[in-house]
Amino acid sequence: MAADTLTRTFSALADPTRRDIVARLADGDATVGQLAEPYRMTLQAVYKHLQVLEHAGLVSRPRGPQPRRVRLEAEVLAQTEIWIERYRRRAEERYRRLDALLATMSHTDEKDAADDVNYTDGHRG
């Protein structure tokens, strides 16, 4: 399910260390040892983070010469970005219509808005 994948992606990226790992892997593949270097945590802890990222499909460790290198699976990230970008575009289309409407509104409208709020207060009390 596409939405499930997205959920896993977001929750995998909820952790700052995992976001950092992903950001560093964007520069190129790295071994687990290299990834662990800047962190004050055990290699074991780094492996656990990588497992979460692997489960979300964000990284993989393709077979090859030891030590195996961790690779960022850019496709999964791209899918998330595509969805967010599509959502953003729809919002932008809506706000362009609002732009056009606002251009036709006069500034005296603000007085009416203030009146509405006064009415709200009266309603509340």
Binding site: A2, A3, D4, L6, T7, F10, S11, L13, A14, R19, W83, I84, R86, Y87, R88, R90, A91, E92, E93, R94, Y95, R97, L98, D99, A100, L101, L102, A103, M105, H107, D109, E110, D112, A113, A114, D116, V117, Y119, T120, H123, R124
Partner: protein, 159 residues
């Protein structure tokens, strides 16, 4: 004057979507465009003529309902105005195609000076699944289904 495009952010830790957009308007005008039903209907949906405000009481404790139409498919939405102030609106949003789902929206209208104002919209969805489905569908209103249907009609030569 350059147009500031809509910025969007999906929080990885909470099922929240943030939208930020600047307008060549005052905060008061933005407020009006969100609370006056005649104005709201003109921009909220892709086709102003197809947006029908069924009920609208933009006051603290009030409620709203409107329908939109794409092709021969009608979409209905409703919610409550939880708090209505000049600088912010807190409201709920439900797409009636999924009546159990509800989004808690907070809108902020902020004057930036020089005839510009910033709109911030925080949408708290009731689960990550719903939030992600929203994003995946490309739209919070479910209108994407309508687009898909319209596309099929176009593909079939019906339009």
């Amino acid at each position: 004057m350059s147009i500031t495009q809509t910025a969007i952010e999906a929080d990885p830790k909470l099922p929240i979507i943030w939208i930020t957009r600047e307008f060549a308007a005052t905060a008061g005008q933005l407020f009006r465009a969100h609370t006056d039903p005649v104005l709201f209907a003109q921009w909220v949906g892709p086709d102003a003529a197809a947006t029908q405000i069924e009920h609208w009481d933009a006051r603290t404790g009030g409620s709203w309902r409107y329908t939109g139409r794409i092709g021969d498919t009608e979409f209905a939405f409703h919610g409550c105005f939880h708090e209505v102030r000049l600088d912010r609106i807190v409201q709920t949003f439900t797409y009636e195609g999924e009546p159990d789902g509800v989004v808690l929206e907070t809108l902020w209208f902020e004057d930036l000076g020089g005839g510009r104002a910033r709109l911030r919209l925080q949408s708290l969805v009731d689960s990550f699944e719903s939030r992600d489905a929203w994003l995946a569908s490309g739209m919070e209103t479910g209108v994407n289904d309508g687009y898909a249907k319209l596309q099929r009609m176009v593909d079939d030569g019906a339009v």
